[in-house]
Symmetry: C2
Subunit: 221 residues, 2 copies
């Protein structure tokens, strides 16, 4: 019969929704689960947000927006410092991946679940998500794509895009599966060991975009 903390309700809903969406997906999560975990009333979610879809988008926006802002800022800075605007490959992939891998290894468990959610929301093609995802990721993808393309002008467009697709897929999959990577590897890989995962990913991504396979010509700068 007493009212809960004043303004905290909205934040608790977002936190609970984030973890539940990460665990069970959008369709697999009910508003009753969310409000139960958030310890708020069921109607609160429809009061503070329009509906379930907008809640989902808001949860995602809160995470994606700052991450992509950091990525773009770092890329801009790196391009300003690099000679001729050609940022080294390792640095490029580090800028792209570090904000996400860092989330996985955050001490706060909410960050880990956020990473999991980000990883899987890009594979779940919910109909109402298409425009949102395009708007949020298009700038960063084109910027990185252009920067990446400068390193591999010899690759055919199709070959370039296939490689990019593989690298992005490796990253997304890692985000989505980091929470049980310990079980999958029988304890050998740990989710908090993000330094190893990140450096390994960057290394692999660089190799994926190395000029061309035939080393006969010995073609380097």
């Amino acid at each position: 019969m007493k009212t809960a903390p004043p303004q905290e309700t909205l934040g608790r809903i977002l936190v609970a929704a984030e973890s539940l969406f990460a665990e069970n997906g959008y369709d697999g999560t009910t508003l009753r689960q969310i409000t139960r975990r958030a310890k708020v009333n069921l109607a609160a979610v429809n009061y503070h947000h329009d509906d379930k879809e907008s809640l989902y988008l808001e949860v995602l926006t809160r995470r994606i927006r700052p991450i992509n802002q950091v990525r773009l800022a770092r890329l801009t800075e790196a391009e300003a410092q690099a000679a001729g605007g050609r940022v080294p490959l390792e640095q490029l992939f580090h800028i792209m991946a570090e904000p996400l891998f860092g989330l996985c290894a955050d001490a706060d468990e909410r960050s880990q679940q956020a990473a999991r959610l980000l990883g899987r929301c890009l594979v779940d093609p919910l109909p109402f998500m298409a425009d949102f995802l395009a708007a949020e990721f298009q700038p960063v993808m084109t910027r990185f794509g252009q920067a990446l393309r400068r390193h591999t002008p010899a690759l055919s467009p199709a070959d370039f895009l296939w490689r990019l697709n593989f690298v992005v897929g490796a990253m997304q999959h890692t985000l989505a599966s980091m929470h049980h990577v310990k079980d999958l590897t029988q304890g050998i890989c740990q989710h908090h060991d993000h330094a190893a995962a990140l450096s390994c990913f960057v290394q692999l991504a660089c190799r994926a975009f190395e000029p061309v396979p035939p080393p006969d010509r010995g073609m380097d700068r």
Copy 2:
């Protein structure tokens, strides 16, 4: 026994379910959608199968089982022919990926949707799927893992598993996103161009497991 009408119903349910699960996921698909698309009665799915979960597992089993059988058979054959049982890396990844990439490029649209479903069912961690996936994929993963390990004995276990994780993720993501890769790449990559995608993937996977990066120490066999 069943004799009178060709039990087309069961097959039509499986086909319709496969495409709908691929498009909308497990929770996003209703039995009414399935029976409507299959042009069968709603109760048919509960008559021929136990429930929605078993239908889902049956759809997946029909695809996964033969694919993994082919993979294991080819691997066995390759190991028998290879010198000292060391199958070349390219061949190894080709055996692992070809059955799946071939599905993507099949003329039958149902195969493409099956590939999409396989790609996404491994990221959607439905609670009732854990045992099933472990049972279906554990043999092929350990066999391939061992064969792969012979090529990279110098890698630390953690490093090895991280790389494997990235490569598997790249493949899964490609399966799940192949259906709209044409839109993403503005027509440059086509889903039926599976030869390019496959060879590109194999190439990338081989590079991911190349011995070690630092050439300073000159540490190789």
